[in-house]
């Protein structure tokens, strides 16, 4: 039988009434840790401050283009006189960058940092969120009250209209007769009577890529509209096909059998005329007997057999031969592709080709980024197109098969607004003048050590 009892009195006698005044290991640990850990944190902070300057305050890594200035916070965070705050203002951005206005009739202009958010890590600053655009374009209002664009676009998938060119049902304004169907047929007669199978990139290839596989003709330079491209990129944009590079090896411009395969320049009628006069003039100077030669009628165009005129002197001979050559060119050779109209003068008028360089006037498309795809994967109607007026631009649904607003996060291609659209109107860009020294930009940053050192 148990004799021990635990009465309150007995238990109370056990207790040292001053126990709370004496140190105890648990309380001691709590106290010293409460001193040590904040001290360690403070030491860490001061060490970071000493090593990396203000970098410790940074809320995240800088973008790819600004990462080099990481040590120099004050480049962007410009201290204002008499103010505690050093928040970034547009002035700091404009010290290095020009930022042309978006539209003259926009109702407000956001600050640079509203769209181009820094301290989000090594990402391009142009990768702005859709919300930066849809803050206006979701419910578009303009100063004149008449938006030129669809008034409500919320994302590439939602409410984004089809491309304007396709929406309006317009026809290709180009005047150069081109039958894609014929050009893509097998066994076409190529240069030197070779049989060829043409492919899209025989004519449509980025500027930086080698020229046509069928060779290029030595042609006089012609004026093209490629130079109008606002921001040319070597391989991104598909330049217009050029006669000299892409057509001339098959579509030759011979003008007289006396000159073998020599061709007239692919240029304006006045230039062609001057060329012909010079070439025939040179010829008769070296072959004066040619005036008395009688040529049989030219039967190259059976329905319009032309009687050869007999010249009485060298000047007439040059005039008649030039007329014959021009008749051949404008009645057959040029007319095959161009619209040739009488002008009322001695020379006909060749309609401007009016080729469209950029089918998406408010967007940019990078063919180079899509080089892994076949052309007809997107331009599906091209192999069957027979008319010049056919617009062969793919619809937005084609793009939406791969591009999503969520982009890579959703195993899709980038589909945010910036992928195709530019906010700033770079055609109005002004050059900026840099004022910083390397020391100012880099500060005390360590020099990168080259590999192998």
């Amino acid at each position: 039988m148990l004799r021990r009892t635990r009465t309150t009195k007995k238990l109370a006698k056990r207790i040292d009434l001053q126990y709370f005044a004496r140190p105890h290991s648990f309380r001691r640990w709590r106290f010293w840790l409460s001193v040590a850990i904040p001290l360690i944190a403070l030491t860490w902070f001061l060490a970071q401050r000493a090593q990396g300057g203000q970098k410790v305050y940074s809320s995240g890594g800088l973008s790819q283009s600004h990462a080099v200035f990481t040590q120099q916070c004050a480049l962007c965070h410009v201290a204002q006189a008499g103010a505690f705050s050093s928040r970034v203002t547009d002035k700091a951005c404009l010290a290095c960058h020009d930022a042309p206005l978006h539209h003259a009739n926009q109702t407000f202009t956001p600050e640079c940092a509203t769209c181009h958010v820094e301290h989000k890590g090594a990402m391009p600053l142009k990768a702005t969120a859709d919300a930066a655009c849809t803050q206006c374009h979701a419910d578009l209002r303009t100063r004149d009250g008449q938006p030129h664009y669809v008034a409500s676009i919320t994302s590439f998938e939602k409410k984004h209209p089809d491309f304007a060119t396709l929406r309006s049902g317009q026809a290709d304004p180009g005047t150069v007769r081109l039958n894609h169907y014929v050009h893509l047929q097998p066994n076409l007669i190529g240069p030197n009577n070779r049989r060829v199978q043409m492919t899209c990139d025989d004519c449509h290839r980025p500027a930086a890529v080698a020229t046509s596989p069928y060779g290029t003709a030595e042609m006089h330079p012609i004026t093209t509209t490629n130079a109008n491209l606002s921001r040319p990129r070597d391989q991104a944009h598909m330049p217009l096909p050029e006669f000299g590079k892409h057509c001339a090896s098959c579509h030759t411009l011979q003008f007289d059998k006396r000159f073998g395969n020599e061709q007239v320049p692919h240029d304006k009628p006045e230039v062609v005329h001057a060329f012909l006069l010079k070439r025939f003039g040179d010829y008769i100077a070296t072959h004066p007997d040619a005036v008395r030669e009688v040529n049989p009628p030219d039967r190259q165009i059976p329905e319009r057999v032309r009687t050869t005129r007999i010249a009485r002197n060298a000047a007439e001979w040059v005039q008649f031969r030039a007329d014959d050559a021009e008749w051949l060119l404008y009645a057959k050779t040029c007319k095959q592709c161009h619209t040739v109209k009488p002008s009322g003068g001695s020379l006909p008028e060749v309609a401007k080709s009016n080729l469209t360089l950029q089918w998406l006037p408010d967007a940019e498309f990078d063919h180079h980024a899509h080089r892994m795809m076949s052309c007809t994967a997107c331009h599906t109607r091209t192999p069957e197109s027979r008319e010049t007026t056919d617009i062969l631009l793919p619809g937005i649904q084609t793009c939406q098969q791969c591009h999503r607003s969520q982009g890579p996060a959703k195993e899709a291609a980038e589909g945010r607004c910036f992928e195709c659209h530019q906010y700033h109107d770079w055609t109005k860009a002004k050059p900026t003048k840099g004022n910083f020294t390397i020391q100012q930009l880099r500060g005390n940053a360590k020099r990168p050590v080259p590999e192998g050192e």
Partner: protein, 306 residues
């Protein structure tokens, strides 16, 4: 601290505040051009509110240091600490848009994660463990007094062994009144022959003293010592059962007391272990809280500047 019906108002208020904060945050996060940011007006609001709650939670330590201050009941402060501290974490997450940011804020946020989780763990422990301890450890004492009580138990055990051995060695003067009474009634009881309590048995006495010196005193004097035979209830019981066979019945009560002393020691050891669990989280929670408040203050000043 028991989280009971007295916390209902705090619970409801915190739930309402969190619901409002979330309801405001979701459309803000979806519509903000570049996502939620600490520097936006709403982001700053969340940050200021969260930091004020953290500060209040941190002031509990000060309130405890000065219990005589007339600044509200300690229990109210504790409830405020619990619920506002709990609420401060989601507010700070809303402030940063669920991003931990750069070096300073990242360190602060990880500290906050540990402070918050240790706080929740501590609150849960403080809610459940005291009741568990009361049920499991009827012999518990003040934690800081365990060392002292352990010494007292060792002393008590020595006295009991002395008393028992004296009785076994025939020194009646050292035997207790009860033992002497038992001795007088030795003979036949209920048809069974029982031994006289005061029979001299020096051999058993020696064994008992050896047991005290080799097993019991070391066990009682050392903290923990779960690996020892007496540290395990079942084995201790067997050991004492062997002594019961050797000792006359009138001395069994002494063995019962010795066994009870060992049981109390086992409970004190268990109390010591449970106390470390019950309060150990504070060794993480409190120091990290102070460090967090320090870095949080630095962040607040720097954020206002940049």
């Amino acid at each position: 601290m028991l989280i009971d019906h007295t916390h209902r108002k705090w619970l409801v208020a915190s739930a309402v505040a969190l619901t409002i904060a979330t309801a405001v945050y979701i459309p803000y996060a979806l519509r903000a051009p570049q996502g939620p940011r600490g520097g936006s007006a709403l982001g700053l609001t969340y940050g200021i509110a969260g930091f004020l709650f953290m500060l209040f939670a941190g002031l509990l330590g000060l309130r405890k240091k000065f219990p005589v201050w007339r600044v509200g009941r300690a229990q109210s402060w504790m409830r405020g600490h619990l619920w506002l501290g709990l609420l401060s974490f989601p507010l700070i997450l809303f402030h940063g848009g669920f991003h931990f940011g750069g070096p300073l804020t990242r360190l602060s946020m990880w500290m906050f994660v540990f402070v918050w989780i240790s706080g929740i763990l501590g609150a849960a422990l403080q809610h459940f463990m005291p009741r568990f301890q009361t049920a499991q450890l009827p012999m518990e004492t003040i934690y800081e007094q365990i060392d002292r009580v352990r010494g007292q138990l060792a002393e008590e055990a020595s006295q009991l062994v002395d008393e028992t051995c004296s009785a076994l060695e025939g020194e009646v003067s050292h035997a207790s009144e009860r033992q002497r009474a038992m001795s007088a009634s030795a003979g036949t009881q209920g048809g069974l022959t029982v031994a006289s309590g005061l029979q001299a048995n020096e051999q058993v006495s020696t064994q008992l003293r050896q047991f005290l010196d080799a097993e019991m005193r070391p066990y009682l004097q050392r903290p923990g010592s779960h690996a020892m035979t007496l540290g395990q209830g079942a084995q201790a019981q067997k050991l004492f059962q062997q002594f019961r066979v050797l000792l006359p019945p009138e001395l069994h009560s002494n063995l019962d007391d010795l066994e009870n002393i060992c049981e109390e020691k086992r409970q004190l050891d268990k109390q010591s272990r449970l106390h470390k669990i019950l309060h150990g989280w504070l060794l993480v929670h409190i120091p990290l809280s102070y460090a967090l408040l320090l870095l949080g203050a630095v962040h607040a000043v720097v954020a206002l500047k940049f």
